[in-house]
């Protein structure tokens, strides 16, 4: 097959769509007013921001007044956790519950809070990558302020039992936050029906630009101001609004949540063909539950090889992908997510994450299925670990 270019890393970021770009462009050169200005140019910008806010609210089943624009998913996570911690500490609640396989925006914020004197319980996940709601119930204490569990995992795509966890939290009078950065636009979300008190999302995962995010905060929950200054975002997060990015996000989320089921119907069979095809390679395993996962996500470990080498070789073949190896995480340890579901270090190093959308065609799938086995074979041929495995020796 002829060399192709295939972007299979949509969980990392997505391109800005034509529709989003078209909506953003006027806000750079013609509709450039400051939303706080009194004249029409400013009022128009204010109106466009509020339109975007309505679109985001509608996509989540929220009220516009519950939507706050931020600069990214990490900022939203930080605000939700630190803000809740600060508020509820005054009521003597200094305990937070999260899971071991959250995004670092949650985990590192929790570590920071621990240094500030808060207590954090990290509930485990099953070998399929699912949090057990009963573990949350058991972990809740009198002084628990907040439970934060991600909607869908960023590496293995597993979807968490959000409604059950939210129900337990409410029964116990504890606030519930979810990092839904990977989930928005891929699964149906309704914050009211699902009982979500706070939710983080990011624009660039759904074809808006980088540098825009949202924190949904249910009416009645008051977070401390994040940035002090002017009256923007109801004075909660001061600073002149990023109007083009906000307008773009409004259009993006509307488009992303318009036809979730139809998109999944196209992507899921292609993704499953990839899983089945790649699992025919010997000494290979699928990471995360096969069914309770995002439609476009697959995460597979190939024993005997290392992930960064795999990514570089796939890149040379035109395939953009991601891995949980230490080399790609910037530390000596492989992905905490893969370790949390029980993978041994050496197996976690050889993982591959593909995250596809509808633009990855059946022919592209054929190309991936033709390319990956060759690359794996080539890397295994030069791997002393593979050599030992084939001789039946153990590597410790």
């Amino acid at each position: 097959m002829e060399k192709r270019f295939i972007y299979a890393d949509n969980a990392a970021t997505t391109p800005v769509s034509e529709e989003v770009l078209a909506a953003m462009l006027p806000h750079f050169r013609t509709a450039y007013g400051n939303p706080s200005s009194i004249y029409k140019l400013g009022r128009d910008a204010q109106r466009d921001i509020e339109t975007a806010r309505e679109k985001v609210a509608k996509a989540l089943g929220a009220e516009p007044a519950e939507i706050f624009f931020t600069s990214c998913g990490s900022e939203s996570d930080n605000w939700a956790l630190k803000g809740t911690a600060e508020r509820l500490a005054k009521k003597g609640k200094k305990h937070i519950i999260t899971s071991v396989f959250e995004h670092h925006a949650i985990l590192h914020t929790c570590e920071y809070l621990e240094k500030q004197g808060y207590e954090v319980t990290y509930v485990p996940v099953s070998d399929k990558g699912i949090v057990d709601p009963e573990d949350i119930r058991k972990a809740i204490r009198e002084d628990t302020a907040l439970v934060s569990i991600m909607y869908a995992n960023n590496e293995i795509g597993t979807i968490q039992p959000i409604e059950e966890i939210a129900a337990i939290c409410h029964e116990k009078g504890v606030l519930f936050h979810t990092d839904a950065v990977q989930a928005v636009g891929h699964v149906e979300i309704d914050v009211k029906k699902q009982g979500i008190d706070m939710l983080s999302l990011s624009g660039h995962k759904i074809h808006a630009q980088k540098g825009i995010g949202v924190l949904y905060v249910k009416k009645g929950i008051v977070l401390p101001n994040l940035i002090h200054g002017g009256g923007q975002e109801r004075a909660k997060r001061a600073g002149t609004e990023n109007v083009p990015a906000i307008v773009g996000l409004g259009v993006a989320i509307e488009a992303a949540t318009r036809n979730i089921a139809e998109k999944a119907a196209v992507i899921t069979p292609r993704r499953n063909r990839l899983i089945d095809g790649l699992l025919t390679i010997p000494y290979t395993r699928l990471n995360g539950d096969r069914d309770r996962r995002l439609p476009g996500n697959l995460n597979i470990s190939f024993e005997g090889i290392e992930g960064e080498s795999l990514l570089l070789m796939l890149d040379m073949n035109g395939i953009c992908a991601s891995s949980g190896s230490a080399c790609t995480s910037g530390s000596l340890d492989p992905s905490h997510v893969l370790l949390s579901i029980g993978l041994k270090h050496e197996v976690a190093h050889g993982s591959l994450r593909l995250s596809i959308e509808e633009d990855v065609s059946d022919e592209d799938i054929d190309y991936i299925l033709e390319t990956v086995p060759k690359v794996v074979e080539r890397l295994r041929a030069m791997s002393p670990v593979w050599e030992k495995m084939m001789k039946g020796e153990k590597y410790e």
């Binding site: 570089l312 190896s325 230490a326 080399c327 270090h345 670990v385």
Partner: protein, 138 residues
């Protein structure tokens, strides 16, 4: 992560990959847990390294530094090979990202580990000649 053209070249077309069946010295360094293992095979004749081959499990930089290290010692004397530093490997590759410098140390130590094995096979204590082999920290 910025790799130089040379690193990418040595990664995509690694020199001297494989094994030497009747090697005079074989060394191995690293562990699978931290994600890098290098195995180095040397053929030595009258104090000259006539052939060098490697197998590596690891990232792009691990493969490239192994490849470059074999290139730098092939045809050279044992004395020259013992003087090979990780810095020389880094320079020959037009640099490495800071987080990948440890790969060049592994390559240097893999060569020393193979030479150490060579002396042991000759019935000579390698320690005074080659020194301690440094295993990577976990």
């Amino acid at each position: 992560m910025m790799y130089s053209e040379k690193v990418l070249d040595h990664f995509s077309n690694p020199r001297n990959v494989g094994e030497i069946e009747d090697a005079d010295g074989v060394g191995e360094i690293g562990n699978a847990k931290c994600g890098d293992i290098m195995k180095m095979y040397l053929k030595i004749d009258k104090g000259i390294i006539t052939d060098a081959k490697f197998k590596t499990f690891g990232c792009g930089a691990a493969v490239a530094t192994s490849s470059m290290a074999t290139e730098l010692i092939k045809g050279r004397s044992i004395e020259d090979a013992l003087k090979l530093t990780n810095q020389a490997v880094v320079e020959a590759l037009d640099g490495l990202p800071a987080v990948k410098i440890h790969c060049s140390v592994l390559a240097e130590q893999a060569v020393r580990s193979a030479l150490s094995d060579y002396y042991t096979r000759q019935g000579i204590d390698p320690l005074p000649i080659v020194g301690e082999i440094r295993e990577p920290e976990e």
